[in-house]
Symmetry: D2
């Protein structure tokens, strides 16, 4: 009974998070080719069935983010496994959202995080040992360790994941709830849009 | 903060209720022309902004129920006002779902409810005083009073609403949560389908 | 082969018609409780399987019209049968769209049609003979005859259908293609919104 | 006027192609992380605005392919530019659809194509000259040339594109219409599913 209430609260928080993302024209500019997912898990999540995400992910339709389906448990695999692994270090983290990573965005985000007191890190997958990447779905523990190492031993709240062969580079935000990571993602999208516009204006002048 | 959690729990329960309806091919047969909505409100709901429903309602697409949009507060008007009025008599009722009413279904439902210990009632809107129906959105208090009267003074958990000029006849199920009214609606849809099929088979033999 | 091309052209025209409706915030104000459908049929349409409509109809989501599903043949029943019956009088009419009817809108539309040279008519279903309305789906021939009678013997391009017990009053626009009826519907929605706003401002002053 | 009809025919053919994909549970297994798109262009297509695709791409929802949005011109960028480049060699090709590529699938597809008389090719992007890949959206002419080279000078109707840093490996089918590439994609998905299942059964025994 208590678990059912918690499940409902998780799905409802995802509804509100989608609402936040949907309204942001800026966010659409950082939706990756693989599309954005946003996940939020139960307090005692053990496996991907305890992690809720958006069925079909969040895509872009005519300049706005658009959820292809409803929130549901088991709707995410990759991002779900990522948050589960992170929780082995700190179970307070229960949510994650992803978007594009480019060198330009990474450089900007590093500064943004320093200014705003957010721990930032990154995973360079060229460093990944071959014996790990060979195993289907075997990279996650190494990746999270690497992200923590990149942030000087702390769990980074924002980190990129780049240079894996055949995988799109991505940025991930982790946090305590789906709405909190959604809010942060929209804030970042807006600030980056504004700054990259003024950057372009500098080029022009 | 506590209210936010409650809001999330309400939206999440609606996600689960939609999931229940979506899987039922039988339910699609009782979706009305005006389409089905399902609502669930906060414990201390005061107005339609405290009642969540499905944006765009639940329609039928290729033989399955399909939610046009996400759950959201303020997404329903008519059904929202109905549950708010019912709550003046018993605030334990927080959810409602609607579907078709026909004389055949009504007759069947009356029996079904008697057999299953469910209080059944109905509103015949030809009895509605003209001075009431004239007022925009003014009928609700009269309608709920009438439904209670029809059930011998008790609040009927299932009731029809029929014979209003320009309005489709509908059946309404009320209950304590969106999932509970969805489950009951699907159960009824299945039982009615089965019984009306055997009815037809009797005709044929 | 030729018929396949025609089918594709019909579905594509419906895609464009939905595009037109979707952008109109004014149109959302005249979407009825039963939701809007828009149909377009093959040149030699014989039955509802030759008429394409929008699966799940067009609903309103957060202030914009929104198609619940894709265009498809057989997706409409009622409006499909209406255009088929009208085509018995003039097969050039291949498309129809519907929206709300109220006395206020009807009065306004009558003037609007006169000013713009559009033939307007209406069906008062209280006049319908009982022996007809008893037959399931039997009313269509009478209704179309009545609409033509109301317009002095001509097929009205816009007509209302009102006062049927248990049915929402509706306005219908017929035309040669889905895009043409969609454009006219949006134009009317905008003009009516503008005029009814200035009407309200008159009341206030 | 004639161009309008052609536009409608293109959009309608995409509606039918989506219908074909939607029904295939097998196809869902080969939808890539970047999601599937399907494009179809006008006979005299000059730029991406003359190529129609599916807004938001085709994703997977609860074991079925699901189009996030409607067909529309300009809805695709990458796949649109690919078909435009291929048309420089043979303008009869007007449609394309993409899905996953893995070594296992590639090996199987090569055999499948030989058996069925389909020209098969592939692009290994590790061979791409650096001066080309540096230019934003500059790779297309090289890629199509490479695909043709890989197929012994003929345009391959099915080809993979692999080993680009930060890009998911993909298979592409090209053809004369959206429905024809959709049908072929579903046929392949089914045959591959069947064969890979029997492969697994061999492993088990």
């Amino acid at each position: 009974m208590k678990k059912m209430k918690e499940k409902e609260q998780v799905l409802g928080n995802l509804c509100l998070a989608v609402e936040i993302l949907k309204k942001s024209k800026s966010f659409v500019r950082i939706i990756p080719e693989v599309r954005t997912n946003i996940v939020y898990c139960l307090q005692n999540a053990k496996d991907v069935g305890d992690v809720a995400g958006i069925h079909g992910r969040i895509t872009n339709i005519e300049d706005y983010p658009f959820p292809s389906g409803y929130p549901g448990f088991g709707a995410s695999d990759h991002l779900a496994r990522k948050i589960l692994e992170i929780r082995r270090y700190n179970p307070e983290y229960r949510a994650a959202v992803n978007f594009i990573y480019t060198k330009e965005l990474g450089k900007w985000l590093k500064k943004y995080c320093r200014k705003n007191g957010i721990i930032y890190g990154g995973i360079d997958r060229t460093k990944e040992p071959k014996r790990i990447s060979k195993i289907e779905k075997g990279s996650m523990p190494w990746k999270v360790k690497e992200a923590i190492k990149s942030a000087g031993g702390k769990i980074p709240e924002i980190f990129y994941e780049a240079n894996a062969p055949g995988k799109e580079d991505l940025t991930v935000i982790i946090g305590k709830s789906a709405t909190s990571v959604a809010k942060r993602a929209v804030k970042i999208a807006k600030a980056f849009e504004k700054d990259s516009l003024s950057l372009k204006m500098n080029f022009l002048s």
